[in-house]
């Protein structure tokens, strides 16, 4: 493959329309006679609904309908894809039935002529609640007390023990065993565009179209069809522009089914755009684990075993992947290290809160944080440098594929190379000396290192709830333009650009001649979607192989047109050329495509007469005119491929954060930030940098600012962006990015995935740096978000 585009910093072709405000999000789509939906949501974390009186709301001019739990009993429950043994699955109806289980739980849906009337009507619906005791603390939930779902005996959704090796023996044989309780606070994904749904029903055709801001249009179509009870082939899901997902739109939500159902009831288009307060209440949260680490090591720093007992705060219900997230934590507990014995004990509990589910990283940031914090604890305990204790426990580059005690086969890696590069960029030795001087001068300067590994390109189908493959169709249209239909559903990752790069290089066409279409189940073949850093590794490979299939056919047609054997055809830069010897023989041939009437009248005939080469565009036209194709050749020029990877991929890297803590205020200031990431082969370095930037920023959010807080009664306290603190540009340091490149053997592109690397690698480096800064005060660990208040108290010995 000639690399004219792949590997180049090509600007995103998506951006001009986004920057100019010409893109279409769900809210930009307005249909005639469209009605608007607003939701009455529970203000109680746990309560019985005695009655709902919507009479006043219905009297408000402009209100069309009010639906409550009993009206929508026919809609199927919100689905959960978790397939764990003995998993308790509560019946998650689209509107609350006789009880509410979290603040924000939808109780009634109001339909009105405009969004403002609908919103006003929300205040007029009188719900008589009978307050019930709320279960808020996950560790308390595990102990017993109030049971949230009456049909279960307790609040424990499932318990799971996993891992290989004799953990008891491993810890017993250790010279030191270090224990630490750590908290992964709940986070809100805060996509810039909240969720939004528009649904339209054509009763004559029986066609329902749902526009939704989702990451998984096809999976959503299947699930909505089942929930609403409409044939899947009568339902079309369209995903227009999506303003960020981060996993929060890798889901099937009650509102999506309700909007589809309401459109069918009223025979009018209905729209709902989530508000920010609704978004923080009723869109999935991430993380939410409290765990206990036990790590054993020898006096020289060699790790012997890791046990992690974790309480996972699932919230009141399962959303699509809620129970699966802690299992991903378990899978990644070996980190980038050789740990002979690993055990995870998960106790996953229901609480009166919104469900947790996949948020950028989805279980892996938790694992990486556990392992990296554990390595820092070992380093501090033994007085070894944080970089050295890591290097000591890396598998060598020659040990890949590397088998972990969590049962995974890491595809490829060179962890020391990334660490070396990061250390050399930041001038590590000198930095440590500077730190010594700073400490001597009374300054609190800290260096944090994270040598993470993550699991990406999800994944083999047998490890996934709903298929781990991805699809692509590549067509060359009669005019020579290339259309790529991908089953992935990019929503900010830039695959309209990177897939076009792959296609343009493979076909030797101009980048601008390739259009990548996604996110419309009426147009694109079934696909899985974009999540788990999979779209390029799995979906990009599908594009590549589909093109290779297409080229086989194009090759045959070209050979026929040039009257030679396919074996003597060369394809380069978009041209099929006969090898020299053959060309001379074939020189006297007659034209292969006879002159005749083109079906479309205006289409030009491919001109091959006397030429030794033809372009792929010529072939495409010939394939569509189909007047002279090789025998038994289907007309048209398109190919579809469904790529099923044999394994996950395991990107890795080293992040180093350097911070200084202000003694007076407890404020944390970044001095430097270096990230060396290895995501295998890189299609577009600019896109990779963008993914790393965004991920690190969200990591800074988790490390320093963000926290979804429910008070003791279960009330959501951080319900707006006044109280839920996302990082601002001024709080983000300059990031010095670099890469190493270890291709993945799992796919022919050699790519690994990079969408979540930043949120996985950065958090432990930042917290590690703060802890390192405070080490002279005897600090070994701090829980996130590390707020100035906590540091200030520590400094003052409070």
């Amino acid at each position: 493959m000639a690399s004219k585009y792949v590997g180049q910093r090509i600007k995103r072709t998506e951006d001009p329309r986004l920057i100019k405000g010409l893109a279409h999000y769900v809210d930009d789509i307005r249909l005639p006679n469209m009605l608007h939906v607003a939701f009455v949501r529970s203000v109680y974390p746990h309560a019985r609904i005695n009655s709902i009186d919507a009479s006043e709301a219905l009297k408000l001019p402009g209100v069309v309908a009010v639906y409550t739990g009993k009206d929508v009993a026919g809609i199927g429950p919100v689905p959960c894809a978790g397939a764990l043994p003995d998993l308790k699955v509560p019946n998650y109806r689209v509107l609350a039935q006789d009880k509410v289980f979290f603040v924000g739980h939808p109780v009634a849906a109001i339909v009105a002529i405009d969004p403002y009337v609908a919103r006003d009507a929300v205040d007029l619906v009188m719900v008589d609640y009978e307050d019930l005791p709320a279960v808020v603390d996950v560790e308390e939930a595990a102990k017993g007390g109030t049971v949230i779902h009456e049909n279960f005996d307790d609040n424990i959704a499932y318990k799971l023990t996993a891992g290989e090796g004799d953990i008891d023996a491993a810890l017993a044989s250790a010279d030191r065993v270090i224990k630490q309780r750590i908290v992964h606070q709940r986070l809100a994904p805060i996509a810039m565009e909240p969720r939004g749904v528009l649904a339209r029903y054509f009763p004559g055709e029986g066609d329902l179209t749902v526009w939704s801001s989702t990451q998984i249009p096809h999976l959503l179509r299947t699930q909505l069809a089942l929930m609403i009870g409409i044939p899947e082939n009568k339902l079309r899901v369209i995903t227009p522009e999506v303003g960020g997902g981060f996993g929060s739109k890798l889901n099937v939500y009650a509102e999506e089914a309700l909007l589809g159902w309401i459109a069918m009831q009223l025979n009018k288009p209905v729209k709902w755009i989530e508000g920010r307060r609704e978004n923080i209440q009723g869109t999935i949260h991430g993380r939410g684990q409290i765990g206990y680490i036990e790590i054993g090591c020898k006096n020289d720093g060699t790790l012997t075993g890791l046990r992690y007992n974790v309480f996972a705060d699932l919230g009141a219900y399962h959303q699509l992947l809620t129970p699966a997230i802690p299992t991903l934590t378990g899978l990644m507990l070996s980190g980038a290290y050789k740990i002979p014995a690993i055990q995870i004990n998960v106790t996953a509990c229901f609480t009166n809160k919104m469900a947790t589910d996949a948020y950028r990283g989805a279980g892996r940031p938790e694992a990486t944080y556990v392992v990296e914090r554990a390595l820092d604890l070992v380093a501090a305990e033994l007085g070894i440098d944080a970089a050295e204790v890591r290097r000591k426990n890396f598998p060598a580059a020659t040990e890949f594929p590397f088998h972990t005690a969590t049962g995974l086969e890491y595809d490829s890696g060179d962890y020391a190379a990334a660490l070396n590069k990061a250390q050399s960029i930041i001038n590590y030795q000198q930095l440590r000396e500077e730190q010594e001087q700073a400490r001597a001068a009374g300054r609190l300067m800290g260096i944090g290192i994270s040598t993470y590994v993550e699991i990406c390109a999800l994944g083999p189908s047998n490890a996934m709830p709903a298929g781990g493959w991805e699809s692509a169709t590549v067509r060359i249209e009669p005019t020579g333009k290339v259309t790529v239909l991908t089953g992935a559903s990019p929503h900010g990752q830039g695959q309209e650009t990177s897939f076009a790069q792959i296609a343009a290089d493979e076909l030797g066409v101009d980048l601008n001649d390739v259009t990548v279409i996604h996110g419309d189940t009426g147009v694109v073949q079934y696909g899985i979607g974009t999540f788990g850093s999979r779209a390029t590794a799995v979906g990009g490979t599908a594009v590549l192989v589909a093109i290779q299939k297409l080229k086989e056919k194009a090759n045959k047609i070209a050979a026929h047109m040039l009257q030679c054997e396919t074996s003597v055809l060369n394809f380069e830069s978009g041209k099929f050329t006969r090898e020299a010897a053959q060309a001379a023989v074939a020189g006297e041939s007659t034209p292969v495509v006879p002159v005749g009437e083109a079906p479309a009248g205006a289409l030009p005939e491919p001109e091959t007469n006397g030429r030794s080469h033809i372009t792929i565009q010529d072939v495409a036209l010939a394939a569509h005119l189909a007047k002279e194709l090789p025998p038994d050749t289907e007309p048209g020029l398109s190919a579809t491929y469904f790529f099923e990877p044999k394994n996950f991929t395991f990107p890795f890297g080293t992040h180093i954060a350097v911070v200084e803590v202000d003694r007076e205020t407890g404020d944390v200031k970044f001095l430097r930030y270096v990230a060396v990431d290895d995501c295998g082969k890189v299609i577009n370095p600019m896109l990779v940098d963008g993914q790393i930037h965004g991920g690190i920023v969200q990591s800074i959010g988790q490390a320093l600012f963000e926290e979804v807080v429910y008070d003791e009664q279960g009330q959501l306290v951080t319900g707006s962006l006044m109280d839920y603190a996302v990082p601002k540009a001024s709080q983000v340091p300059w990031m010095e990015l670099d890469r190493t490149e270890t291709p993945s053997p799992v796919n022919p592109l050699g790519v690994k995935g990079v969408g979540e690397a930043g949120t996985i690698g950065a958090t432990p480096a930042i917290v590690g740096a703060i802890v390192d800064a405070l080490a002279p005060l005897g600090v070994r660990h701090l829980d996130m978000p590390v707020k100035p208040e906590a540091i200030w108290k520590l400094i003052r010995g409070q």
């Binding site: 603040v103 609640y129 209440q281 009330q715 951080t718 319900g719």
Partner: protein, 173 residues
């Protein structure tokens, strides 16, 4: 959430207490109170227009007086629901007499839910203190009048004036 404070009222304790259990007086003194009707002994139905910052709404609920020991103590229990959420609270009021003035100590527990909790929680303490201060200023004005006398007015400017003169009194005396 704990709420507590002290207020010095320039009126005799017996009269202050009388005002504190008179629904008509309370209705006039509680900021935003639109209705306070006795439903049984020491039980009232109430409508209060209140808000925190931009979150405003009408709350309907009940007020209960317990452990009434004139003229020194009672306990007030409030439960109200409204469009921005709900609030539940209880508080103890203790009255002490000193040189013809009355010192009221209050301490209570307040629970809020809904939008008020998720958006306004940080401001609730401040708002509650402000409302308490408005209430006691109005109460003081009421207590300065004799039973049966025409009640004082509690418009915005009068309250502001009372607050201002109260400040001056504290600063300069």
């Amino acid at each position: 959430m704990k709420i507590e404070g002290t207020h010095q009222l320039n009126a005799p304790r017996a009269r202050v207490f009388e005002c504190l259990i008179d629904p008509e007086v309370l209705k006039r003194c509680i900021p935003g109170c639109e209705r306070l009707e006795a439903t049984a002994e020491n039980r009232y139905a109430t409508t209060i227009r209140a808000g925190v910052g931009t979150i405003k709404g009408v709350f309907n609920g009940t007020v209960r007086l317990e452990d009434v020991r004139p003229p020194e103590h009672y306990r007030i229990v409030v439960e109200a629901k409204g469009s921005p959420g709900f609030l539940k609270g209880s508080g103890d009021l203790d009255l002490e007499e000193a040189n013809g003035t009355t010192q009221i100590k209050y301490q209570g527990d307040l629970q809020v839910g809904g939008t008020i909790a998720s958006v306004g929680q940080r401001m609730i303490q401040g708002t509650a203190k402000m409302m308490a201060s408005q209430f006691f200023l109005a109460l003081e004005a009421e207590a300065k009048t004799e039973a049966g006398e025409a009640p004082p007015e509690h418009g915005f400017f009068r309250t502001a004036l009372r607050w201002f003169s109260g400040c001056i009194r504290r600063w300069f005396y």
